[in-house]
């Protein structure tokens, strides 16, 4: 049956089959977390926004949410230790530092990150967030596919 598909559909079917069960389960949990935060206290689960607003204005719910992320990841690593891997070499101090600066600056200027614009903005069908996601995806693909190799970052 699969052989009767045209090459494009064949490729697509292969990619979809390649998405792992944990990937989907984890994604559903992330979506559920965003929905829980909104239904319970009416807040958008945008991690960069919560982080930087928390630095400026405080708010116990913000620190509990961020602390929960750290704790939840720790819990996941205890339950499934084999999933806790870093499958790329350490890119070194300067790449990490420049990357952090750009992410901090960019998410403040652009009003969100993968969680705020991605999970929540797309969920709210915001056109602004859709544009944001397309821009940061394209820029991320450019750096990872080309710039990183030009700079000689170990891959």
């Amino acid at each position: 049956m699969l052989n009767e598909l045209d090459p494009a559909s064949h490729w697509l079917a292969g990619q979809v089959a390649g998405i792992h069960l944990f990937t989907v389960a984890g994604g559903l949990a992330i979506g559920a977390a965003a929905v829980l935060l909104y239904h319970s206290i009416g807040r958008i689960a945008g991690i960069s926004g919560i982080f930087f607003t928390g630095m400026r204005e405080g708010g116990s719910w913000r620190w509990l949410f961020l602390g929960g992320i750290v704790l939840g990841a720790w819990l996941g690593a205890q339950l499934f230790p084999t999933l806790n891997i870093v499958s790329r070499p350490n890119p070194g101090f300067w790449i990490l530092a420049v990357s952090g600066l750009l992410v901090g600056w960019g998410t403040r200027l652009g009003g969100g990150c993968t969680s705020g614009h991605g999970v929540c903005g797309l969920g709210r069908l915001s056109l602004r967030s859709l544009v944001a996601v397309l821009v940061f995806m394209a820029a991320g693909i450019f750096t990872a596919s080309l710039l990183r190799h030009w700079l000689g970052v170990p891959a």
Binding site: G18, I19, H20, F22, G26, G27, A29, I30, G31, A33, A34, V35, L36, Y38, S40, I41, G42, R43, I44, F51, F52, L64, F65, I69, G72, A73, L75, G76, A77, L83, S87, R88, P91, A97, S99, G100, V103, G104, W105, G106, R108, L109, G110, C113, T114, S115, H117, C120, L122, G123, R128, A132, V133, V135, F136, G140, F142, A144, L147, R148
Partner: protein, 141 residues
Amino acid sequence: MKANLSALAAGLLFGLGLMLSGMSNPGEVLSFLDWSGVWSPDLIGVLGSAVLVSVIGFRLARRKARPWFAAEFPALPRKAIDRPLLVGNLLFGLGWGLAGYCPGPALAGLALGNDEVLVFLVAMLGGGVLQQALARKRNDL
């Protein structure tokens, strides 16, 4: 109290999801962003399943007068698609593709014995604080 507990529970679920989905592994993120090597669709699988749940959840919230443990849903300002949005997300994406970290996964990395996130998080804090200081200075002028 209930509001704080819900925020903690939402954070727990979020962190667990990041870890299970593989997004706390910057190598997994880069295997989606890097089209020059072996490509993995997992990141789209994670974002897609998360958005599927959040579309339904945000739609259901429209029928509610107020959240369970707060007085009201804060009004979300309607803003235009402007230059800061485009430039900001461009810079964010450039940084994301360099090391494979965005804010959530880097935060999760703190619990995973992954020391390199410390450099990233401190720099991210610095970048955000600088941007906000500059924005305030411009507003004051």
